[in-house]
Each structure stands twice: as C-alpha cells, then as structure tokens.
C-alpha cells in the first residue's frame, strides 16, 4: 500500500454543540446599526409607516439573538461533525453522482451580479440570465436530441411530476382518459414513478428484472403493454448500472400501442456523448443537472430536473419557456404555450444550478463531456473488478459483464458468514473518513450497497476507499465486534435503528416539534 492510499489516522471533531436557539441571549446582536442622522430621518420619514397593518408582525420573529463571531463558530463546529462532500471520499453514495463541483462554478452561482437580481425585475434588465438559460437549453437539446426543454422543475421527482402531468394532459386531450389508464415502469427505475403516476390518476405496473440478466424482463413487459398503456417511465442504465441494449424494442412496443415513452436520465453520467434519448425514440427525458452537470446532489443543491420533449409535446410544456426574439434581439419568458400544464415553480426555476451546469458544459465542451463519461465508466469498472474479488461481496445479475457508471453490490454473504452486513460496514467506514449510503429501495438486492465513482475521483482516492473496505471485511471475519460497535472515531456512537424513523410520533423535523416532543437529546418526553 502506498503512502497515498494508506488509511488516515482520522477522528472527527466533537463539540457537544448546543442547538443555535439554545445559544441565544436576549439583546445580543450581529450588527448594531447606528442611529439615523436627523437629516436623513427628516428626508425619508417613517419608511415602514406605509406598510399595510396586516403585513406587519404583531410580535418579533423568534430568531436566535447572537453576535456574528458566535454564529460563525457555531456553524464551523457543526461542519466539523459531518462527513462533508469536500472532505470525504463519497463514492459510496451510489445513485447520487457525487462529482466535484468546481469552485469557480460556485463563485459564479454566488456572484453579486446574480444573487443581487430580483425575480420580478423587468426582462430587459435580466437579459444575461435569460441568455444563459436559453443557451443551456440549446446544449441540453444537443446532448439529448430532444426538441425543447423546460428548466423549471426543482429536482428529479418534480421533473417526473411535470412529465406525468403532461402525459395526463395528452391523454385527456385525445379523449382517452377512460381507456389509457396504465403507466408501466420498472422496479429499479426512479422510486417516484409509482407515486406520481398514482397521484395523476393512473394505475401502475411494475416490471421486475430478469433474474439472470438484470434487465427488465422482456416477456413480462410484452404481457404488460396493451392499449391501456398511457406511458412507459424507465431508466437506463438502472440503479444496477446494467445498460439495457433492448431499450428501443420497449419504446417501439409502447408506441405501437399508442403510448408515450419517458427516459429518466437523472443520472446520465455514464452515457454523455455516447447515446441520446432520441436514439431510442423517447418522447420525454429529464436530466438532474444537479447531479450530472456540476451542482452537488442533495443538501449541497438545490436541485434542478430539466425536462425535454419531442416536437409533438412542446404544446404541453410548463410555462414560462425561455425564448429569443430575433427581430428585437432580446430574450424573453415565453408564456405562449397553447396546452401548457401551467406553472410548476415560482419565477425562473433554480438559477444557481443552471449557472453551474452552463459553466460546466462550457468548460468541457462536447469532447470533454464524452471524456467525463468514459472516465466515470472506467473508474466504475475498475472498482467492480476489485470488489468482485473481495470476500463476502457479491455482484447480483449480469455475471461477468461490465457495468456503466455504478453497481449495486450485496453484502449478504458477509452477513451470513460473519453477522456483519451493510449496516455494520456503513457505520465502520465512517472511521476511515469515507461514506457508504443506505438508501437502496427497493430491497430486491439483500444487504445492498451501491458504489458510483464518477469521473472526479483519482485512482489513489478510489484505492484508499477500497483499502478501507478490504480492511473492514478483514475485521468482520476476525473481530466482528469492532464493526458492531462502530463508529469509533465519530462524535455520535449510537445510531438509531431504522424502525425509529418509521414512527411519526418520534419525528422532530422542526425546532418547535423538537421542543414539544423531547426534553433532551433522544429522550422521549415523559408521559403525563
């Protein structure tokens, strides 16, 4: 093992930091404003006096009262108590596409020129942003082969909602509401497909994978498709990282029965420049530009799930679109969309994500996008070969085949042989300043874990991660208690079991709920 990949002597900081509301001292202030000068007071008058009474608070907001330096220290301490994206090797967050977002893109997104804009400014004064949005759409059209994009949705599930809303409108428009009432998806496609389809009044059909190939069972698919099929919502490659080369056979079948096809490209990282939605004859596609195109996923977001459509579905897109008026050489927000499903998000959508995506695409160019995909696939298959050789780890489906950008593995064997499975490895790997993610619904693969390296990680970092995994597997065999009592180098050693998350009575998602339900950390309030 080289110095570059050997395990670090890592220990997370522990601060026992109170919640910010507990640090509040009445009267303490971050900024003390000077008294207003008499000339200004005379000239400006009572600036707030003109506000209507019903817009004024009757009492001040219950915000914590603190000096600037204390606020800064508070948040710095908290930041040291997690495995932040800029600190750890997070290739274990498979399906999240945790790639590096160049800091200059962050600077663009946070620049005063952008953050100082008001969303209801006159269009003539925000031509720069509108131009970026318009150009970004042109890039996305080239990448996917679609004819028009809406940049409005605020994430992947929101994009699916927009797409299924358009499918609903398209079906209703044709007077087929009673006959086209089914949506087909696959068990490894986006988990929101079922929920959204149901919310929009469709019945849902799930296709399970062929046990050997891992691709959606073609025979089952043929049984499922009928004149009742309104649409197919599918991902390719699915979360297993297996590419379905028969995808066009599926879309052709749905089209032959008069349905529409939507391609979930939330994670397009392994196929950029290699294949396009249009090649498989899809009617819709969407990208999570906060994953594939620079913005960090999850809390590093916020997200943006852009939706592309073919020509015949442009009339249903959400408004506004961003268009260019050649005659007057100006960009504008276009509300002239005849059968639009309406507005699905306030104002422009999530501008910072669009700025980062625009900058990322511009910095790489077409060749760079292809290279990013190739490196992501290469990294993934290097890891696949290493993990295949690890004791207790299995690679379900498609034996011996390469995968695209990620792989869903299983620790079932390790669990059976040592009693240590995914949960234990997940807790232990924190001690190596690495991360392994737990959300792999549906649990068709037992003791699942998903690794997705993207193109950002160097071989040394990947080797560091794999060395940690190998060490943990050795421990599981020789000293399983080390895993069962992990993490050892983190501020919190006890992790609540999943079942607790299932009980709404124990949730405290706001400060007020926390105060009402809990007297101290993790101690339920005594019953009266």
């Amino acid at each position: 093992m080289s110095d570059k990949t050997k395990s670090r002597d890592f220990h997370q900081a522990r601060w026992n930091e109170p919640i910010i509301f507990d640090l509040s001292t009445p009267g303490e202030r971050g900024i003390l404003l000077p008294e207003m000068e008499p000339e200004i007071e005379t000239s400006a008058g009572d600036a707030l006096g003109e506000l209507p009474g019903d817009l004024k608070r009757s009492s001040p907001p219950g915000l914590p009262e603190m000096a600037q330096m204390r606020v800064l220290k508070h948040y710095l301490r908290l930041s040291q108590e997690n495995l932040g994206a800029d600190l750890n090797v997070d290739i274990g967050q498979g399906t999240c596409t945790m790639k590096y977002s160049p800091k200059i893109n962050e600077q663009f997104a946070a620049s005063p020129q952008l953050s100082g804009l008001h969303p209801v400014q006159d269009e003539n004064t925000v031509q720069g942003v509108l131009e970026i949005m318009y150009q970004l759409e042109q890039f996305l059209k080239a990448i996917s082969g679609m004819d028009r994009f809406s940049l409005q949705p605020g994430g992947g599930s929101h994009a699916i909602l927009a797409i299924v809303s358009m499918i609903r409108a398209w079906v209703d428009d044709r007077g087929l509401s009673d006959t086209k009432d089914e949506i087909i998806t696959t068990i490894f496609s986006h988990p929101s497909n079922c929920a959204v389809a149901r919310a929009k009044g469709f019945k849902v059909i799930n296709i399970y994978p062929d046990p050997k190939t891992g691709r959606p069972d073609l025979e089952a698919f043929k049984e499922a498709v009928s004149e009742r099929t309104a649409a197919l919502l599918i991902t390719n490659p699915e979360d297993t990282g297996i590419y379905n080369e028969n995808i066009k056979e599926l879309t052709d079948l749905v089209h032959a029965h008069g349905g529409l096809c939507s391609y979930d490209q939330a994670n397009a990282n392994g196929i950029l420049g290699i294949t396009r939605a249009v090649n498989a004859n899809f009617d819709f596609c969407f990208f999570n530009i906060h994953k594939t195109f620079s913005s960090p996923h999850g809390c590093g977001g916020p997200g943006c799930g852009v939706v592309g459509v073919k020509e015949h579905l442009i009339p249903y897109l959400p408004v506004p679109l961003t268009s260019f008026d050649e005659a007057n050489n100006r960009y504008y927000l276009d509300y002239d969309v005849p059968k639009t499903i309406g507005k699905i998000k306030d104002y422009y959508g999530v501008i910072p994500a669009m700025i980062r995506a625009y900058a990322w695409i511009r910095s790489l160019g077409a060749e760079g996008l292809l290279e990013a995909a190739r490196v992501a696939v290469l990294n993934n298959n290097y890891i696949l070969n290493r993990i295949r050789a690890m004791k207790g780890a299995e690679v379900p489906y498609a034996e011996g085949e390469h995968r695209i950008e990620q792989v869903r593995y299983s620790f079932q064997l390790l669990k059976e042989e040592t009693g240590c499975g995914f949960d234990e490895v997940q807790r232990r790997i924190c001690d190596f300043m690495c991360h392994l993610w737990s959300s792999h619904e549906p649990f068709v693969v037992p003791e699942p874990f998903t690794i997705e390296p993207t193109e950002s990680y160097s071989k040394q970092e990947i080797d560091e991660y794999l060395a940690a995994l190998e060490k943990i597997i050795e421990e599981a065999c020789a000293t399983p208690d080390v895993l069962k009592t992990a993490p050892h180098n983190s501020p919190i050693h006890h992790v609540a079991e999943h079942e607790y998350l299932d009980d709404p009575k124990l949730w405290a998602v706001t400060w007020r709920m926390y105060k009402n339900r809990f007297e101290g950390y993790f101690e339920p309030k005594k019953e009266q």
């Binding site: 019945k203 399970y208 379900p396 949960d423 649990f443 068709v444 003791e447 299932d502």
Partner: protein
C-alpha cells in the same frame, strides 16, 4: 427485564447429516442414533445464548430442564429459571408443546425455539397466533418462514428486541412436508398455520426491508384494488394465506385462513373447500368464468402446490394460466430476492405449462408482472 423463553428440540437436525431427510417419528430417531447421529440443536442454541449473554442483566431467561434448555444455559453461563416441565430422557413433540404452553402462560416477551419445521408445528399448535416467536434454524427441513437466517441472525433479532427496538409482529408461515414422501424423494409441503414473528427486521428468513407502512396496510391496499376490479358474475376461488384473507375481510366476509373459499358477487358461497368442491363449483360456473387467486409462500415463492393443495393439478388444469391471479405485497416479492415464483402442482407437465409471467396485485391500483419457473 426482558422475559425470554427458550425451547430446544435436542433431536432436531440429527437425521440431516445422515441423509435421513428429517428426524420426525421415533423410528427415524432410533435409526439416526444407531447410525451415530450427534445432536445439532444444542450447539446452535449455544451460539445464540453466547451472543445474548452480553445483555444478560436485561434478560430473564425461562427455559426447560436438561437438554431442552437448562444444559445449554449452564454451558453458556447464562442465568435462567427452569419451568416445571417433566421430560423423559428421550424428548417428544408433546414435551415441546407443553413447554410452549407453559412459557406462554408465564408471559414471555419472545419465545425462541431451536429446531426445524416439525418443532415449528408443535410450537404453533400450542401457542396459536398469540405469542411472539422466533425460530433458530437447527432442523433438517426449514420450509417455514418463522426461522431466522442463521443462529447469528436470531441472536441479532432477539438482541434488538431486548435493547428496546420497536417491531410490529408479522404472521409467518409454518410449513412442513410429509416426511415419508420426502424420504422417497417426493416433496409434498403443507401450510400448517402461522406464528407471529418480529417484523421489519433484517435477517429474518431472507431480508425484509424496514417499511413505514405495515404489511397489513399493504395487504388491505391490494385487497381494495381486487375489490375495485372484481367482476360480480365471476367465480373466485380464494386460496389460503393472510394476503388473500385480506380480500375477504375487505368484503366483510369471514373466510378460512388455511382453506380455499369460493367468492361470487362479494359473498362467500363455499368455505374450506376440498378438491372435489372446487371442481364442482368450476363445472357449475363455466371454466372461463372463474379465477383462482393465490399468494406466494413467504420467502420461497411457491404459488401452487405448497399450502394450497386443494387447488390441485386437476383444478388448475380447468382454467387457463391467465385465470390465475397472484396477490402479494411488494415486501413479499422483495423477500424472494429476485427469484421467480415456483410451481409444484404434482403434475410436472402442468407445472411446465404454467411457467411464465403472472399478473400480481401489489397495492391499490398497483400491480407487477412476475415470472414463475420450475
């Protein structure tokens, strides 16, 4: 204190290594002993008790005398109380049943039993569906889904409960086969009942994912979908199981959990039917006007021939494959770990014809298409 009951069937599993395909029945046990069989269950029980000893201050262990518990507890230095059960040198199924009843009367929080399918049947017949149980696998046959994957997993599940982990019990199938037929290389399995086992637990008879909605609510959801799609003029033969029972409950009908019931226009028209009854009803209804509704056996996936032999090859042959409707919650499908449904009607040619894709009701207005193979 967590009140833990423990019953070891000391002869369970002894026939396995000798290829005897079971140890049920005195004759076979004699043969096993003659062939030099060694007890399997005590070492498996010891594995569990050693793991539990880390929390022994929180456990009040109640167990049986001698080889049915006390010997192993002593070996593992685990404090325990013995129940006043008199056993002979050669233990019997009756001992297991009496022990289970006595432990239930002593209000144990969890009844751990170490054995195989035969032991599970004895426990089930003694405590019914009112005692939280967990099987530690030690038998030759373990077709029931009441068993943990291994002694290791059993200890882990028990430790979770001892440490206060919340868990909604779920009813798991008690299955057993006809050992005489099995020894002649014929597999005939029957559903004997259900036992409540800790639900939402990893490690119990194949992985079961944590889930915010209870299994029962999901069963009700697919039952509601069935009712919505139901054709009032059609005859439905509803197979055994808790998933299919939810359909009858949704209609306000009292069905039989382990039997086949006939349904038409929302009303039960025949209860606990045998093969002959089913054939008569099918003749009466006209074959095209009937649907057979079944649910897979948890963790194993048999949709025909295990636990629902009333729906015999002769019965199934009267309808087309498309007239067989499967009902299963998503969790139940996931328990199969990607394995297909299985068929065992007793007629290999019919099983071969029935292979292929089935429609499965999985929730309200949700279905799946799932493959059955031999």
């Amino acid at each position: 204190m967590f009140r833990l009951g423990l019953i070891i069937n000391p002869v369970a599993g002894m026939g396995g290594p000798l290829g005897l395909k079971g140890t049920d029945g005195e004759e076979i046990l004699e043969l096993a002993l003659k062939k030099g069989a060694l007890p399997q269950a005590p070492s498996r029980a010891a594995h569990v008790l050693k793991a539990l000893s880390q929390e022994k201050d929180k456990i009040c262990l109640l167990t049986c005398p001698g080889p049915m518990g006390a010997d192993t507890a002593i070996q593992c230095s685990m404090p325990f109380e013995t129940i006043p059960l008199k056993i002979n040198q050669k233990t019997s199924p009756e001992d297991t049943r009496r022990a289970a009843k006595m432990l239930q009367q002593r209000s144990v929080d969890l009844l751990l039993f170490v054995g195989g399918d035969g032991t599970a049947r004895d426990i089930g017949s003694a405590v019914g569906e009112r005692q939280l149980c967990l099987g530690v696998p030690a038998g030759v046959k373990m077709h029931s889904s009441v068993f943990a994957l291994s002694p290791h997993h059993a200890a882990e599940i028990a430790l979770g409960l001892i440490k206060g982990r919340r868990s909604q019990p779920r009813l798991a199938e008690i299955m057993d086969i006809d050992e005489e037929a099995f020894r002649a290389d014929q597999l005939r399995a029957r559903l004997f009942g259900y036992l409540p086992v800790p639900g939402s637990q990893r490690g119990l008879q194949l992985l079961k994912a944590g889930s915010s909605a209870s299994e029962k609510a999901k069963q009700q959801a697919s039952a509601a979908f069935f009712v919505e799609e139901m054709d009032p003029n059609r005859l439905y033969l509803i197979g055994p199981g808790t998933t299919t029972r939810a359909i009858l409950q949704a209609l306000g009908q009292e069905g039989t959990l382990l039997g086949v019931d006939a349904l038409r226009d929302g009303q039960i028209i025949g209860k606990d039917l045998n093969e002959k009854d089913c054939l008569a009803l099918l003749d009466q209804a006209g074959f095209e006007q009937a649907t057979i509704v079944v649910t897979p056996i948890g963790g194993q996936g048999f949709i025909l021939g295990r636990g629902n032999q009333q729906l015999s090859a002769e019965v199934v042959r009267r309808v087309s494959k498309k007239q067989i409707l499967v009902v299963a919650t998503p969790d139940k499908l996931q328990l199969l770990r990607g394995s297909p449904f299985r068929l065992d009607t007793g007629d290999p040619e019919l099983d071969r014809q029935l292979c292929g894709i089935y429609r499965v009701l999985t929730g309200y207005r949700e279905s799946a298409y799932y493959r059955a193979e031999l």
